[in-house]
Amino acid sequence: MGLELIIPILAATIQSGTPILYATLGEMLTERSGVLNLGVEGMMIFGAFFAFLVSYYTGNPWLAFICAGLLAGLFGLAHAVVCLVFQGNQVVSGLALTILGVGLADFLGTAYVGVSAPGFSPFDFPVLSAIPVLGEIFFKQDALVYVSFLLPFLFWFFMNRTRWGLALGAAGENPAACFAAGLNPVKLRWAGIYFGGVLCGLGGAYLSLAYTHLWTNNMTAGRGWIAVALVIFAFWRPGRAMFGAYLFGGIMAFQMRLQAVGATLPSSLLLMLPYALTIIVLLFSSARGKGRQAPAALGVNIEPGE
């Protein structure tokens, strides 16, 4: 294979990886605050649908993108109510959120299936797109991809170099210590769930605004679940999340390309690839070591009066 074949695949890799990157960072933020939210898939598709809807009626994709994030965050707050107000089971609540989100998007979206809406198109990033090879791969993308390049760095900076980030991390590691330090771990977790949901919604919005410019059912196709797995694969660190997201983006792009060139393999087998990789990745990342642990209080509810 020559460069002219590889470069489009790599460029497609970035594009396929971007929604996963948004969602992975979203789930990572929520988990760092100590809450496991399995509703990523639901929040993503919720975001995808409202991004489409807002863009369809207003014609403004940026407005659509932002609305999708804010609304998906609000949708995710259902999880916060269950886990933070009623100390419900985080796994069950997250699963319910996914089922609800997927069902709701299907139900509301039936009338719009196949309808297109304005979205984001690739453009050459000034200067950087002129770099040979790398420019072709990374800097002939759409605006949302460029935003996503910055996210892992912002995430790291927020968690390690800001007051709020450290407080959020403390809520996920040891809520009692957080409380004793005069902070409110429950409020921090509300924030973790909300802004995590916002990022998941933005990932979904990418699918209907940039990846495609239309609405179809089951748009997310399990990407939310891949994001959940990637958080573990990334050991809750944003840099590795980026690597993981592009790894999966690569597999997705690769299997589409294989289908396109008419490979003799059955297509269902190819479609299975990303999900098979998810299991393999989880197997390998189960080897824990120093600095690789999950937030110590992940999935543990804060009981009132403690």
Binding site: T162, A170, A177
Partner: protein
């Protein structure tokens, strides 16, 4: 035990100053339980106040109220003479009152500096270098040596405690409450802590020292208040602090039999025989225990006791050497050891983690190791287990005696009594007891000791203890461990060697 020399330099400067905090007629009820009743207490600047009392006397509850974790049912808190209400620890911290909890409240994955500054950062953006400099300066001022850039999970218990203290000092706390601070410390760390406490008091801080260790209280405190059953029963100021025996009497409300009468009993078969056990930090361990005797392993914690216990109890495979338990080779005894009858019972140090399950009731905790006595095939005779648990709870005086309470509702001493009752029920031939009275008050300690002496009639006991007094009270023979080796073992009657135990614990073999 080491003798402490009080190194305060300017206590006189604070004499007669007005109290910084006054607790006035504080009462606290948890449902029907009365944890504190009408407690009045002054906390004065530059003074170390000791709160002395048994487990469950209400010391921790009172201090949780003062530090804003609990709200009192009735009574007032006066700070600088003004009525103040604490709704959360935040309010108490603002008022200058902070607490070092028995279970540290630290974020393990963060650095020392991040922990100290958590919630106190001056700006939105954070510079780790700047934070570390600040914490280092503070540590220097109060004599609390620590590396501010170290991750908390890599620290020793003593260092973690220093981080807790630094957190309070950083918040300009004027009152520092230390809840059983020495329970987790080595003797050296204890001395360092006391030095730091005196230094803080000399700089005008008020310290509240919660403890039930008389020697330490006598050594470190300027004022002593004794709590019993939720009430202050006595208060002593600097000059009129009485002797240890008097304090002990006031604390438990009856005479304590501090010395036990341990008559030797007839020896039986060898129940544990360790020959040349090596590896995992252990070096050529030779040890045997016979029915009818208590063999105490004395030594500073961390000198191989844990590894030895884990091998004997089947938690770790012996690397080299022979271990035989009840006449069976280690590999034949484990991994399917007999559950009842000729069995081995383990009373671990970690009674809340290893010995019991926090969130299940006493019956299920009782069944953890005794279920084989209540089963027919796959079926469990639970009503019989309930009856037996009630008997054990009564026989071993476990308080409060509700068997449907979760294990976490029990204090450390009562939980230990339950564990001991459970293990004795199995009628084991050999018992491994690891610091069985650590963190227990005097009356519970005495009860545990009596039980161990009694049970010696039908089983051999391997006692691991870091309290020399415990070894001297209970043991028939004493072995001293240092750096994975047994330095020497001798009968308790060998007074010359008993005298030299302190030296042996430091690795010196007297000839």
């Amino acid at each position: 035990m080491a003798e402490y020399v009080n190194k305060r330099t300017n206590r006189g400067a604070f004499a007669g100053q007005a109290p910084f905090v006054r607790l006035q007629a504080i009462s606290k009820h948890f449902g029907k339980v009365r944890a504190n009743h009408e407690i009045t207490l002054d906390i004065r600047p530059g003074m170390i106040k000791a709160l002395l009392g048994e487990n469950g006397a209400g010391k921790s509850t009172l201090m949780s109220i003062l530090s804003g974790r609990f709200q009192q049912t009735s009574g007032d808190i006066l700070v600088d003479g003004a009525l103040t209400a604490f709704h959360s620890p935040k309010d108490a911290i603002k008022a200058g009152i902070g607490m070092v909890y028995q279970h540290f409240m630290l974020v393990e994955s963060m650095t020392v500096a991040q922990n100290v500054l958590l919630g106190q950062e001056k700006a939105f953006l954070i510079s780790p270098k700047e934070q570390e400099r600040e914490v280092a300066a503070l540590a220097e001022q109060y004599g609390l040596p620590i590396d501010p850039s170290a991750t908390v999970s890599s620290l020793s218990m003593g260092e973690k405690q220093r981080v807790e203290i630094l957190k309070l000092l950083y918040r300009d706390s004027r009152v520092l409450i230390l809840d059983e601070p020495t329970a987790v410390l080595t003797p050296t760390e204890t001395e360092q802590l006391f030095d730091a406490m005196w230094r803080m008091a000399d700089q005008g801080k008020s310290l509240v020292f919660i403890s039930h260790k008389l020697k330490e209280v006598m050594a470190v405190a300027d004022e002593i208040a004794i709590l019993r059953k939720g009430e202050v029963v006595d208060e002593f100021k600097e000059a009129d602090v009485p002797n240890e025996a008097v304090l002990a009497n006031r604390m438990v409300g009856r005479d304590v039999e501090l010395a036990l009468d341990a008559q030797p009993v007839e020896l039986g078969a060898t129940v544990l025989d360790v020959q040349g056990l090596d590896g995992d930090g252990l070096e050529d361990i030779m040890l045997s225990v016979r029915k009818g005797e208590i063999v105490a392993i004395a030594g500073v914690a961390g000198n191989g006791q844990k590894e030895l216990v884990e091998v004997v109890c089947g938690l770790r495979k012996p690397v080299r050497g022979d271990v035989s338990i009840l006449g069976l080779e280690w590999h034949d005894f484990y991994p399917r050891p007999p559950r009842k009858g000729r069995s081995l019972a383990y009373i671990p140090e970690d009674r809340q983690g290893l010995a019991t399950c926090k969130f299940v009731d006493l019956v299920d905790n009782f069944l953890l190791t005794t279920r084989h006595s209540f089963t027919t095939g796959p079926f469990l005779n639970r009503s019989k287990a309930v009856d037996t648990t009630i008997e054990i709870v009564e026989q071993f005086n476990v308080q409060p005696g509700h068997i449907d309470a979760d294990a976490r509702a029990l204090s450390g001493g009562n939980l230990q009594k339950l564990v001991i009752g459970r293990e004795f029920f199995r009628q084991p031939d050999i018992i491994v007891a690891e610091n069985p009275t650590q963190g227990l008050d005097i009356s519970a300690t005495e009860e545990v000791w009596q039980r161990l002496l009694e049970v010696r009639k039908r089983s051999g006991i391997l006692l691991i203890t870091s309290e020399l007094n415990e070894a001297l009270q209970l043991a028939d023979r004493i072995a001293v461990m240092y750096r994975g080796r047994i330095i020497d073992q001798f009968p308790k009657s060998d007074t010359k060697k008993v005298e030299a135990i302190g030296l042996m614990m430091a690795g010196v073999t007297p000839e």
